[in-house]
């Protein structure tokens, strides 16, 4: 893929997030959100201008948002009460990451949207998350396989983003990094326990590692938005995270007496461009239906 600084408006062709600024759009609530962000002070000077990496940040925020939604489904359904709490905690952290990014994205994509505009009012084609996070909740091994990969990815991602040229992004990443290290620890403990537990848990954990495989390549795709963000030294090229993430996962898998499966025959693609898999529509329908049933209402 070319690394030339292409116009972000040609990125996916589907989202309104890269529309040019039509004026200083800033609501009171949105300003309040921004002021609460780490490092936001440097960005609240003049009328906020559009920055070309909004689409990149939206991908990161949507990953966190959609995965928080899926993890929230575990509450009351986990194998033990401690795990209801732990998965709830992780969901809350990811939700916090998304909430840290959405209002900032609204301030740099020229739309002035707030967090609920992004979460509740966008249609499926406007979401930029990877397919991995939107997949339906499988069994507990499926969740731990997904969490292991996603949190290993997020540890590498946020480690890198703490050096972002955008102070807000660096601030969000710094806070997130502490959280995702804990997520990775939690997933690692379970993958090892399940792999090295009983014959049944070993079989289930191995099967889950295989089922998650097709949805991993997307995390490391250098799509146009991330290439641009990396060129501007705000983001990181996803492909550069690949080896470190695989090394982290491989270490855990080995400890759990499991085998890291070979490449998949097929792979999911298109999430960053708003092309999603079947479960995404239902996820959004459930998440958004109350908000959308009451246009203009506040809660």
């Amino acid at each position: 893929m070319s690394t030339s600084a292409s116009s972000p408006s040609t990125d996916t062709g589907t989202t309104p997030v890269t529309e040019p600024v039509t004026g200083a759009v800033s609501s009171a609530s949105e300003s309040a959100h921004r002021e609460s962000l780490p490092g936001a002070a440097e960005n609240t000077g003049a009328a906020p201008g559009a920055k070309p990496y909004a689409a990149y940040l939206l991908g990161l925020a949507d990953d966190a948002m959609v995965y928080a939604q899926r993890l929230g489904e575990w509450m009351t359904n986990a194998p033990q009460i401690e795990e209801d709490m732990a998965l709830g905690n992780i969901a809350l952290d990811l939700l916090g990451q998304a909430r840290g990014l959405y209002p900032y994205i609204g301030s740099i994509d020229g739309t002035g949207r707030g967090e609920d505009d992004y979460a509740m009012q966008r249609d499926e084609r406007e979401w930029h998350n990877v397919h991995l996070v939107e997949q339906e909740r499988g069994d507990f091994a499926d969740e731990m396989a997904r969490l292991l990969w996603f949190s290993a990815y997020q540890v590498e991602l946020h480690t890198s983003l703490t050096g972002s040229g955008d102070d807000v992004v660096a601030g969000v990443a710094g806070k997130a990094l502490k959280e995702v290290r804990y997520h990775l620890d939690h997933a690692s403990l379970w993958v090892v326990r399940l792999g090295d537990g009983t014959a049944e848990s070993h079989r289930r954990m191995q099967a889950a590692l295989e089922r998650v495989l097709p949805h991993l390549a997307e995390l490391f795709d250098d799509d146009e938005a991330s290439v641009l963000a990396a060129d501007l030294e705000v983001g990181v090229l996803p492909s550069t995270l690949h080896d470190a993430v695989v090394a982290r996962v491989a270490h855990v898998v080995e400890q759990g007496t499991l085998t890291l499966p070979d490449g998949s025959r097929w792979r999911s693609r298109g999430g960053r461009a708003g092309i999603h898999s079947r479960p995404m529509g239902s996820l959004l329908a459930e998440m958004q239906h109350i908000a959308r049933s009451h246009p203009g209402a506040t809660w």
Binding site: A78, I81, M85, R99, F140, I290, T298
Partner: protein
């Protein structure tokens, strides 16, 4: 953690925000003089000292506490379901975050209470089995469905409000681990109640359909919330129930009827502030008594739901059992792994000591 810029934070909204709670918490902090009383059960009770796990206690006292603490723990765990049902649908991200944190708190309360029960010589596994087999109960209030988003508000405001009214006196319960658990639980429940009030406050200042949603929820939850205090236990009804014995043991400090009246007195002005109409035509201020009069509770319905014939009894237990059964292989794996690890550590130690 979750600020509230609408409602006066200095005005008490529930019993955990009153002087009674502060007094109980302070009482706990300042307990002394136990050494001079000795370890005799009756002497400890008479001196308003706490009974602790290692103290001798009558079997009936122990059994009563196990039943009550377990029922309380089960209520926290089953109580995760009605609101957990709305986590994926909360209408804003702020509401979603608050709701996840609340359901998480309930899980934490459940664990905390199971631990308190375990100090009496029974383990969590057995208590959960009793819950799943229907041998132990949970609060009947959770056998009612959460039909709309406003129900999350009504549960916080009314159900948590009633629960706190019940639990603040338990902060001075004679059994130490239970009393200490209640001091902590009440504090967190107080946040939940305030958040519930705030949900309804926003709905009542919203669109017509939001107001209707809030009123409908108040209509459905008001009477079940009043029934949460249990059947009448004063006057003619004072004989026969658990109240008398529990009071003698310092487990219970107020009658069901007293607590219910306190709850009504505290809640009616809040309903007025919200702009909600409570579904009781007999509700009126009684100047002479200095209390709100209220109508007859449908105790037939209460007993019917308690016996298992409520809207959600089967669903709640079925959900709980399914989650537990689906997780069996995970818990088995964790145990197997722990056993293997312990064996490996022993082996390692033997090697080291041999070397």
């Amino acid at each position: 953690m979750y600020g509230n810029d609408v409602i006066d934070p200095n005005e008490p909204l529930n019993a955990a925000e009153t002087a009674a709670y502060d007094a109980a918490a302070e009482h706990e902090d300042q307990r002394g003089g136990r050494d001079t009383v000795g370890g005799d059960f009756d002497a400890l009770l008479a001196a308003d000292q706490r009974i602790e796990p290692r103290d001798a206690m009558p079997d009936e006292y122990r059994e009563t506490l196990i039943r009550q603490i377990a029922q309380h723990a089960h209520s926290e765990i089953i109580g995760m379901q009605p609101e957990g049902n709305w986590i994926t649908r909360a209408p804003s991200l702020r509401r979603k975050a608050i709701l996840i944190a609340k359901v998480q708190d309930e899980a934490g309360h459940g664990l905390y209470l199971y631990s308190a029960a375990e100090t009496l010589g029974i383990d969590r596994q057995e208590l959960l089995e009793r819950l799943h087999d229907g041998k132990q109960k949970y609060s009947s209030i959770f056998n009612y469905p959460t039909l709309t988003w406003a129900d999350c508000g009504a549960i916080g405001w009314l159900v948590d409000g009633a629960a706190i009214m019940n639990q603040v006196p338990l902060c001075r319960c004679s059994y130490g681990p239970y009393a200490r658990a209640m001091i902590r639980v009440c504090k967190e429940e107080s946040f939940h109640q305030r958040q519930g009030f705030e949900i309804l406050w926003n709905l009542m200042r919203g669109t017509e359909s939001q107001k209707a949603m809030a009123q409908d929820a108040a209509d459905r939850w008001w009477w079940p919330a009043l029934a949460m205090f249990g059947p009448p236990d004063t006057g003619d009804a004072a004989k026969g129930g658990h109240t008398e014995q529990s009071m003698a043991w310092g487990i219970k400090r107020f009658s069901n009827d007293d607590l219910r009246q306190k709850f009504v007195d505290m809640t009616v002005p809040q309903a007025q502030k919200l702009g909600l109409t409570l579904p009781d035509p007999d509700l009126r201020w009684n100047e002479e008594r200095g209390h709100w009069d209220f109508g007859q509770i449908d105790w037939d319905e209460f007993w019917q739901v308690l016996r298992g014939d409520g809207p959600c009894n089967a669903e709640r237990i079925e959900h709980r059992r399914r989650a537990h059964d689906e997780g069996a292989w995970v818990r088995e794996a964790a145990n197997a792994y722990a056993t293997k690890q312990a064996a490996r550590e022993r082996e390692q130690q033997q090697k080291e000591s041999a070397a």
